[in-house]
């Protein structure tokens, strides 16, 4: 027989005297499990049922001292962005700060035809959910919610338009309250007066309207000297309102605005 050579395994404790238990005990266990799960197995049919449902809620997990329910998400979770289109000032800072270059500023209805309103559009195929954009947003209109379901059928659906993110905003999901306070930029926008032509582009495009064009005295030309052809105005920047977005620098046709420290 095979058992003569093989080492006999140790018997299960409690079954040495009653070998039938070896068969009946698992059968009883399985039958008990069957009876328990006959009406409802513990599987949660995920897309149709969620742990967020109140029936699955029970205070078990403790995160940072605050008990939360099963399936609830920590409110500092960085999920899909919510965008408040109404308060967005089109400053472009989110797109500047994005390390993955997944934010593109697209035109949304609401601006005047000359200065179209531009809001961020996020490609979640590239996004790494670092949250820099919501940190960078000076108006607090771009923030991250607890929504984590991003599965789509088509790759194009990974791109969330401003309108779609506004829908997320309107659904009143918990927002990530943690926002790194953006340090006031040491640098300020400075003007190189001789080059400026007073064209009003910076003032026109400033998202916070902190640039005002002030009249400057028109110098009296010396004999034989030609006056520069320009509008006799100069931008004055209200530093407390400036969000340091750099829009004025990029629109300046003469490159007369630059970052610098005022003495």
């Amino acid at each position: 027989m095979a058992e003569s050579g093989a080492q006999a395994p140790a018997p299960i404790p409690g079954t040495e005297q009653r070998p039938l238990l070896w068969v009946t005990r698992p059968l009883a266990t399985a039958a008990r499990q069957f009876a328990k799960s006959l009406w409802r197995p513990s599987t949660i049919i995920y897309p149709f049922e969620r742990l967020e449902d109140p029936k699955f809620r029970g205070e078990v997990a403790v995160a940072s001292g605050k008990p939360i329910g099963v399936g609830e998400i920590w409110d500092n979770y960085r999920g899909v962005h919510a965008l408040n289109i109404n308060t967005c000032i089109s400053c472009n800072l989110c797109a500047f700060s994005c390390p993955d270059v997944c934010i593109e500023m697209v035109t949304v209805p609401g601006g005047d035809p000359k200065h179209p309103k531009k809001c961020p559009q996020i490609d979640y195929g590239k996004c790494s959910f670092c949250g820099f954009c919501s940190d960078a947003c000076p108006e607090g209109c771009l923030s991250m919610t607890t929504r984590y379901e991003l599965s789509v059928h088509k790759r194009e659906d990974m791109v969330y338009s401003p309108a779609r993110m506004f829908e997320v905003f309107k659904s009143k999901l918990p927002m990530n309250p943690i926002r790194v306070e953006r340090p006031k930029n040491e640098d300020q926008i400075l003007l190189d007066p001789p080059i400026c032509i007073g064209c009003n582009a910076c003032s026109r495009d400033c998202p916070t309207q902190c640039i005002t064009m002030l009249d400057i005295p028109k110098p009296t030309p010396k004999p034989g000297e030609k006056l520069a052809k320009r509008i006799w105005k100069e931008p004055v920047i209200n530093d407390s309102d400036c969000v340091r977005c750099g829009t004025c620098i990029s629109v300046c046709p003469k490159d007369c605005l630059f970052w610098g420290t005022r003495q």
Partner: protein
């Protein structure tokens, strides 16, 4: 019990079909088409088609039933998305297997490799032709139906071993060897348990055996034989805890390691055909077949096809017991398996034969399932 039988149904269909086909032909052909021989031939064809279709559908529903039950035993849900409660999932799986390529290993023996799945499936299906599922609802009614069914049932090791040998794979070969040893070892207790039933019923005809259970179902006096038969059937079907021939942990997939696609589907189907046949045999031999005890209200037994319905309910419940065992027990070792077969099951089966003889001798009617005799 309705008076329709499978034969009369197929005869009606064949006659109706031939009458309509013959309508377009000139008189001599018309007369030949509606003659008795042609009708009989078409009847046989339709009969086989109905039988094949019904058994295949039952087999696939059986797979669904196992998946759902096993899910409940494991605290999960089983298939649930395709069709109602996942009923069509197995059709989808079968379609997938059907579309797959079948690859034959270069070193495999070609004839044996192709032959064994087909032969295994066909020999398993043939049994359905002689199993009665209600009065009149069977193919051939022979005096020795039970023996014939068991003989065809025990063809399987031959084809399994053929396929395993032809695969030219060490795992397949070991699996085939184990399968042959196991099936031969458990033929003996099964046949002895059947002998007990035959002693009690006095016939090898399955219909007679069912009719003999009108007073009491045979599981009551022959509980020992039922246990032996169930265990032996588990081993014959190679189900857990006796699934040594395809022990996934040791042998990759046992004797069907090298089979893929439709050939694997054939093996799988044939396995489930055998599970169905095993469950049907248990119901026929021990659980009264399509009959119900007389204390069941007649509302439940008088609707059309009631016999078939109750028969299938019993079959599925018996298969549920097999699933229950599968969900509970771990796999045995070869030495345990053979020792259980030869040293426990054979004596128990012999004991049950003696019990059956005693029952017959004493004309003792057990309490359970006791109904007044219907005469005859």
């Amino acid at each position: 019990m309705s008076s329709a039988s499978l034969f009369s149904v197929s005869d009606t269909i064949a006659a109706w079909l031939l009458a309509h086909i013959a309508y377009v032909f000139p008189p001599p052909v018309k007369g030949w088409l509606t003659s008795g021989d042609v009708v009989l031939g078409l009847t046989a064809l339709i009969f086989s088609a109905i039988l094949l279709g019904a058994s295949m559908i039952n087999v696939i529903v059986l797979i669904w039933w196992e998946r759902k039950l096993l899910g409940r035993f494991m605290d999960r849900r089983g298939a649930m998305h395709v069709g109602f409660a996942g009923l069509l999932q197995n059709f989808a799986d079968g379609l997938k297997l059907f579309r797959k390529d079948t690859v034959r290993p270069t070193q495999a023996d070609e004839l044996g490799f192709w032959l064994s799945p087909t032969a295994y499936l066909v020999t398993s299906l043939v049994i359905f032709a002689i199993l009665p599922i209600s009065t009149g609802w069977n193919g051939g009614s022979l005096p020795l139906t039970l023996l014939l069914a068991l003989v065809i049932f025990s063809f399987a090791p031959l084809f399994i071993f053929l396929g395993a040998w032809a695969s030219n794979n060490k795992y397949a070969l070991i699996g085939g060897m184990r399968s042959a040893a196991q099936m031969i070892a458990y033929e003996v207790p099964i046949l002895l348990a059947v002998v007990a039933v035959v002693v009690l019923a006095g016939s090898f005809d399955l219909t007679t055996i069912v009719m003999e259970q009108r007073n009491y179902w045979f599981w009551a006096p022959l509980f020992l034989a039922l246990i032996v038969f169930l265990t032996g059937m588990l081993a014959e079907m190679e189900r857990i805890p006796f699934d040594l021939p395809e022990a996934e942990a040791e042998l990759v997939e046992g004797w069907n390691t090298e089979y893929g696609g439709m050939l694997f589907a054939f093996f799988m189907l044939a396995d489930y055909v055998r599970y169905l046949v095993g469950s049907i045999l248990v119901v026929l031999l021990f659980l009264g077949g399509w009959t119900l005890p007389s204390y069941v209200p007649s509302v439940l037994t008088s609707f059309p096809l009631a016999g078939i319905v109750w028969f299938m309910v019993k079959v599925y419940l018996v298969f549920g017991v097999f699933v229950w065992v599968r969900a509970s027990l771990p796999r045995m070792r070869t030495d345990q398996l053979l020792r259980l077969g030869w040293m426990r099951m054979v004596p128990l089966a012999l004991l049950s034969v003696i019990l059956a003889a005693l029952v017959v001798a004493a004309h003792c009617l057990p309490v359970l399932g006791c109904v007044p005799s219907m005469g005859g």
